[in-house]
Assembly symmetry: C2
């Protein structure tokens, strides 16, 4: 691209935004997009719809593991709710998947001190024999120590990694510890282990284990794998320090090859450029242990509630706002599947983001490269600053697990980051229930998403052009 071409694109983008940020000659004749966005945020703070949506989803459906009847019911439930809420179009797209279903899961110290252990199978784990696996444990206090163990050194043992996830507001400790769960089972198996356990990826100290998906590697042995509740990992550390410790674990999950998951798509159609799409997503599936309130019923409530408020304005914004409630995030299916199914649409999606980090307040926003210095960002800051949100210096690197495929296809992404200091206390546990959600915090997030989505849809900002101009 020539410099002149870049400059032309940049100017075009800025002019378009500038015009758009002025008053709209329509039903909102007196109101600029900024005024409308601010009033949307104000409405969100007082609204009860998202909180009620979340209460309904977690109560009337409850747990909704991808590929199960409950997940399908959740999709129908959401479709009905969104239709009633005035969306222009609400549809369900279904996709084949192999479902993984939890079975029994028990653990016991056999010797030297018989007692039960709280654990949960990792998503995707193979089963133990029905009578379980009994073996001495080989305990590693860090994952690096497991990786340093030589091949064959864990033969016949149950490998246990007790490294702790670090607590942090941005959730960075989870990413850093993630290989312990994702790759640990394979690494232990390669060294001869007959089963694998790790300290839950979680920052609490309750007898509730944190599940989550593992990733076996083709060609490597597959061994049963489970996460221990934090106090139980402590207990095994103390027992191992005292001497040889034998444990029995029983896990009986199974898979269903011909399952399907559902994706709920709901749109507020754009009045001028309906083919240009601002995509805001969340995932409707949840782990089976809790009722998926913070992960990710909250996200569904936030993006649905934000779009609903936009739809309740006197007129539609210029572009389409599309809500996508993904159906199999936890099992790693829905992001790639959506990108594949909608590959032809990628160019029409002007920006995409996913709300999947709980129900607390948004504290920072990350926008695509080249956007932070734009007039659009100035408008965004004007709307989101009163909500206690700052514009991050860093450009958005990811828009969410389900957005990754679109991003790879060239879709610009944004991120509205929520306070996650206690998110991993309950993430992926039975404790992920509605009582953990504060209505005022949830509504602040709705306000942020409504403000962002409306401005992106109304102003006609060209995020791709801004990024190109910066290059």
């Amino acid at each position: 691209m020539t410099l002149a071409c870049r400059a032309a694109i940049r100017i075009a983008g800025i002019v378009a935004m500038f015009l758009a940020l002025g008053p709209i000659a329509a039903a909102d004749a007196q109101n600029s997009p900024l005024d409308v966005a601010k009033s949307l945020a104000d409405s969100a703070l007082k609204d009860g719809w998202s909180y009620d949506f979340l209460a309904g989803l977690t109560t009337e459906i409850g747990p909704r593991l991808a590929g199960t009847d409950a997940e399908a019911r959740a999709a129908e439930w959401a479709q009905a709710r969104l239709k009633a809420a005035g969306f222009d179009e609400v549809r369900i797209e279904t996709t084949p998947m192999t479902a993984w279903l939890r079975g029994a899961e028990t653990g016991h110290v056999v010797s030297p001190a018989p007692q039960s252990l709280v654990l949960t199978a990792l998503g995707g784990s193979v089963a133990t024999p029905p009578e379980g696996i009994e073996a001495e444990i080989a305990l590693f206090r860090t994952y690096a120590e497991l990786l340093a163990a030589s091949p064959g050194s864990l033969a016949g043992k149950i490998a246990v990694v007790t490294q702790r996830q670090v607590r942090s507001a941005d959730g960075g400790g989870y990413g850093a510890a993630n290989p312990i769960r994702r790759a640990g089972p394979t690494e232990a198996a390669r060294r001869g282990a007959v089963a694998y356990m790790h300290r839950s990826l979680g920052t609490d100290s309750h007898r509730l284990a944190h599940t989550g998906a593992l990733n076996y590697v083709d060609g490597a042995p597959r061994i049963p794998a489970a996460a221990l509740a934090n106090p139980d990992a402590d207990q095994l550390e103390r027992l191992a320090a005292r001497g040889a410790t034998t444990v029995r674990i029983t896990l009986t999950p199974r898979t269903v090859e011909d399952a399907r998951f559902s994706t709920v798509v709901a749109e507020i159609k754009g009045r001028e450029r309906p083919d240009e799409i601002v995509l805001i997503g969340a995932h409707l599936d949840s782990w089976d242990l809790g009722t998926g309130a913070i992960d990710d019923g909250a996200g569904c409530a936030i993006v649905s509630g934000a779009a609903r408020l936009i739809g309740a304005l006197p007129q539609r914004p210029r572009r389409t706002v599309r809500v996508v409630l993904f159906g199999a995030e936890e099992m790693d299916y829905s992001g790639p599947a959506y990108a594949k199914a909608h590959a032809g649409e990628a160019a029409k999606i002007v920006i995409a983001g996913e709300s999947d980090f709980g129900a607390r307040k948004v504290y920072t926003m990350l926008v695509p490269p080249g956007t932070a210095g734009s007039l659009f960002a100035r408008g965004l800051v004007a709307v989101l600053t009163p909500l206690g949100i700052f514009l991050n210096r860093d450009p958005a690197r990811m828009g969410g697990d389900d957005i990754r495929g679109l991003q790879a296809a060239g879709v610009p992404v944004f991120s509205l980051r929520q306070d996650g200091l206690d998110y991993f206390d309950i993430h992926h546990t039975a404790d992920d229930t509605f009582d953990k959600v504060e209505r005022a915090e949830l509504n602040q997030a709705v306000a942020a998403w409504a403000g962002f989505a409306y401005l992106a849809a109304e102003t006609g900002v060209d995020f791709r052009a801004l990024a190109a101009a910066q290059r």
Copy 2:
């Protein structure tokens, strides 16, 4: 008693104390009892024995339900530990009991929204049939509403009471809510209910139910009874508000008629009046769900550690300090049994107290009637004030569940109350594990108990006389 007699007793008591609070002509020639008590408290704050005791008990034994092998192992374990710690005599007394053993326990919402419920059988509950009991629920938001229901009105229903326990530092909310668990099953049965569930007596919001004993009433029907985790009680409230809700619960506990429980008794023998006993107790049995760290491994560690420090002094105190680790507090057996077995000794027990309220700091002390204004109390205040403990205006009304029988037999009681603001977050749940204990807080409690027990044993204070003088 005549006034002159009362006055004589009072003077005798005061003179005895006054003499005792002066320097002791012995190994501690330079040290008054107050100096020794202060140095004991200082030693306790730096000590590691009690914390290690608690780590060992909760790790090497773990859960120890009264009447089980684990409880018997715990008694042997404690006996060995206390012998090694230098107690003059350590013995185990065994008592017959009917043990209650937990079986399977599951709960599910059958309709309108199938999902699992977290619950736990109440101690002493009868079993459901193996296939469970399925019935519509009758939900009461307060216990009073259940009591107001007419006979027969709950026929065929599962009664559910969702009243909340109030959080308070002194644990008063537990006592107030206790009839919901103790008497609720009988009250529901009298109104026709086929099973009973109540919101756990607990102040947390985790998917961990709080067990605890119920009390059936002779002649009334006995129905299975369970406690729901707090979030599950919330869930049933929301479901019931939406319409008819059917639940299935399965509980398969059983009883063992010819079980026994153990009481561990360890003494630091008095150098002058070995037959006069300062009794400090705690209970070694625990519920089976957790490892009994705060209830009541901590109490065992506190009173054992306090007496051990007294035993480590250059000379024994005048009176005997007796540690009693009761073996069946949770099932209501040990207090009455101990009082019965030791009825002949009651007159020799100069004072008794039990540490059974967790592992946090002691913040107030309650002494028998007539003691607060005494010279003894002045000494106590001098030792305990630096630990952040104040002398309560109220006299001690109770010394602990296991002390009640002795109290009824005329033994004066005292209480060192610990901060209980979060005690009922984990009380009687699987979460009662060692990681919840802070060493510094535990040691402060050891310091308080050591100071109290030493002064009571060394000064020769006559609590009965002080109480009599006040009457």
